[in-house]
Amino acid sequence: MNILSATLAEPHSFSPWEKLLLVASMVASAALFCRRLGPILKRILKSRKDPNFSLAPVGKRVWDFFWEVLCQAKVIRERPLPGLAHAFVFWGFCAFALVTVNHIAVGLGVGFLDPHGLVGGFYFYFAAAFAIACAVGIFGLFVRRFVVRPRWLGGKVSYESGVIALLIFLLMVTYLAAFAVSDASPSARILWWTHTLSLLIFLPIIPHTKHLHLVLSPATIFLSRGGFSKIPPLVGDEDFGLVAGTDLTQLVSLQAYSCVECGRCSEHCPATNTGKELNPKEIILGLRSYLNEFGPTSQESLIGKFNSMTADFQCTTCGSCEYQCPVGIEHLPILIGLRRGAVNTGKWEDDHGAKLFLALERGSNALGMGALERDKFIQKQQFPIFDGTQEYCLWLGCMGGYDPKGREIIADFARVMNYLGTSYGVLRKEKCTGDPVRRLGNDLLFQQLAESNLEALAQNKVKKIVSICPHCVRTIQEDWKEFGTPPEIEHHSEFLASFADKLPNQTDGRVPQVPVSGPGNQKIVFHDPCYLGRYRNVYDEPRAVVSLAGELVEAPRSHQRSFCCGAGGGLAFLGEETGDRVSHTRAKELVATGASIIGTACPFCNTMFRDALSATGKAGPQLLDIAQLTARGLPSANAAIGVTTPGGSSRE
């Protein structure tokens, strides 16, 4: 048989009984589908409305829908081979839309696409190409799930997934086989009925567990909160975060039901990867189970029902989960919401957590040190005091003001600013921006800190801030917006990159104090901080600065996939972790690149790696912030003070 002359066989003349059977089974299938979908939709719609939700800007929503749903961009980009296979299945479904409609119409005797005509013929060939791709794709995915068994899909074998895969395969194969038979043959009829039944069995399975994403995920992606880790404000006197079912909003419920259980969030989670209880997938599925059992109007506590307090407080808020999710689930507002529910009601009892909160209740910084210490540091360094006339306010932050390593970074950055002739000053008094308490869910303390700081900044007439800490930058720029209008702020990597042409280039051997260990320059592996990379989308600027100091090398997991240092989410202030140390895991990865220097752009990352490197005992790479890397290239008079010795230790 000549393939090119094959046409899709369409059985003719269905008997009235057949037509009746067709209609009856369609009605039954649709009814079952609705009966299963109905309660779920009801639960989502009955959930509390999201405060502050607006459809505008619609442009971004439309783009996201186009790019992530229709083009399957994230699905493919983050897991290329399975992603492509899935994309073919999805595109196959899309291409098949008309085929399916016509297929039913044929059964009722009103087929409208003529396989022998120009339009019909072309369309059926077009769909056939997709059918092949789809069949290959679904077969590949079947093998992956049931033979290869990647750990992130979970340990349990999902028979349902197997059934679905079989049905999809059957749909494609029956379609393709219909090209090989003639209209009048009994095979055509058999193929037709097999295809129909596969379709009608498939439909009611959709609302069952994760296959609901077929219906929901386009909406989930379109209706996302926007931004990254967008924490909703609390509303009214009774709102303490996610305490019970009544606190679950429509977006949260929609997202909980959209989970495909693909495990991409778990795969990149620093907690899950180091043996902790926390698994972001289980957090979302836990909410789904809660909704199924208790519903969105229940007063039952969320924590304890399919959700553990221990797990909730193991999150570093690194954002890998939210970044990876292909169906638009926003894990961070949910996790922080659960923490709020525990902290704002006093249910969370943790010695270190209480110590952090009490330190900030009574004092100005998260490390619990006296403000006099910061004053002494400022005096010793002879920093100019901000008086409203300078261009920049240099924000020290808790690490920059009180931590020895943070202070080194500030001192070197100040040296660079002096070299560049930037006018800047430091504030006499600073309070913690509130980042750790914000991520831990303490809204009382956060509001106090934000409001106090905003007032102080306004009084001091601060217009522009530069900071060495991505946490300060994020909190000041985004989180403080809830309580006022924060001044402009940039991270020091953005600042330094904008002056790249004025900074000394250390890679051409002309800067004498920088060793050019042959061959070529020192290899520097740059670690993307979570709050600079995924949160702020700043990847190139710190690299531009690093490239001036040596040869940039990348860690295996870099840019959007950078693996957290373990300090975020307030965890730097909490107690000992279970399982492997997140910081040690990442430090090992960085050391394994063979670089002689680890470059950082966050004082928390810096402090975590310093501990991790010293724990290994052996001499490891140097650990330098990009400010320190830049400062060492400055003319000798400046660079002589505060030199760091190999291993990352230093003299004050």
Partner: protein, 256 residues
């Protein structure tokens, strides 16, 4: 159990204190204030007793308008109601004067137990609670790390020196001075602050309490200590060394 906790608002730990122009007190204008540290432990002890045995915890504070924030913090942490003795002249009263105010207000409530902090972070007299007990005619114990209720009253754990502790039994009503560090403090929560808004906050003036009384000790002057460094080791037996020391304190340092 009806428990009154006497709480003082003091300049915060970090404060850069300067002597005011009159030389009789510190400049308060640019200071931040916070709850006295050992009073926070007293409050925590009271709240734990209430959680275990039921009853009521009442915050009692004397001072100007600004002490309201500290009172609200105590209410947010779980105290049931508050009494604010409005007094703008607290710094001119000695420990007896302040204790008179507090004791008058406390007596009106007929409490089972009064808890105070061991001493204040600013003046550090350590006397206020003791005087209150005397004025109220009830027994007291100081340096308390832990309080337990018994059928006959209380059993308390006192901190002595060199790692020694003493357990005492005393009847109710009583006054206890609580030492810092005996227990873990709780943090203020959003829920606590919201609930605090509806709690009773009663204001009473010093004159209403009829506690006029001139202070018996008057603060003459405050100065910064002169920084000097000089170390002398005094040899000899205890008796000889003591004699030598008295000589030096009389004629060299001139404080006797």
């Amino acid at each position: 159990m009806k428990i009154i906790v006497a709480i003082k608002q003091v300049p915060e730990r970090d404060a850069q204190v300067r002597i005011n122009s009159a030389g009789k007190w510190i400049e308060e204008a640019d200071l931040q204030f916070a709850m006295n540290e050992s009073d926070a432990y007293a409050l925590e002890e009271a709240l734990q007793l209430k959680e275990k045995h039921g009853g009521e915890v009442i915050v009692l504070t004397a001072g100007p308008e600004r002490v309201g924030t500290t009172i609200r913090e105590a209410l947010a942490k779980g105290a049931d109601r508050a009494i604010h003795i409005e007094a703008d002249d607290l710094t001119q009263r000695d420990a007896l004067g302040v204790a008179q105010l507090l004791a008058s207000a406390a007596k009106q409530e007929s409490p089972d137990l009064v808890l105070t902090g061991l001493q204040s972070d600013d003046l550090g007299y350590g006397q206020t609670g003791v005087i209150m007990a005397e004025l109220m005619g009830v027994p007291h114990a100081s340096l308390i790390l832990h309080v337990d209720k018994t059928d006959t009253g209380l059993t308390v754990k006192r901190e002595l020196e060199e790692g020694w502790f003493q357990n005492i039994e005393l009847p109710l009503p009583a006054v206890l001075m609580i030492q810092s560090g005996g227990t873990k403090l709780r943090y203020a929560t959003l829920m606590g602050i919201k609930k605090a808004k509806t709690k009773e906050f009663r204001k009473v003036s010093a004159s209403e309490l009829g506690a006029a009384g001139a202070s018996t000790a008057v603060l003459e002057k405050i100065t910064l200590p002169q920084k000097q460094k000089s170390t002398q080791i005094i040899p000899g037996s205890a008796k000889e060394a003591a004699a030598t020391l008295v000589e030096k304190l009389k004629f060299e340092v001139r404080v006797l």
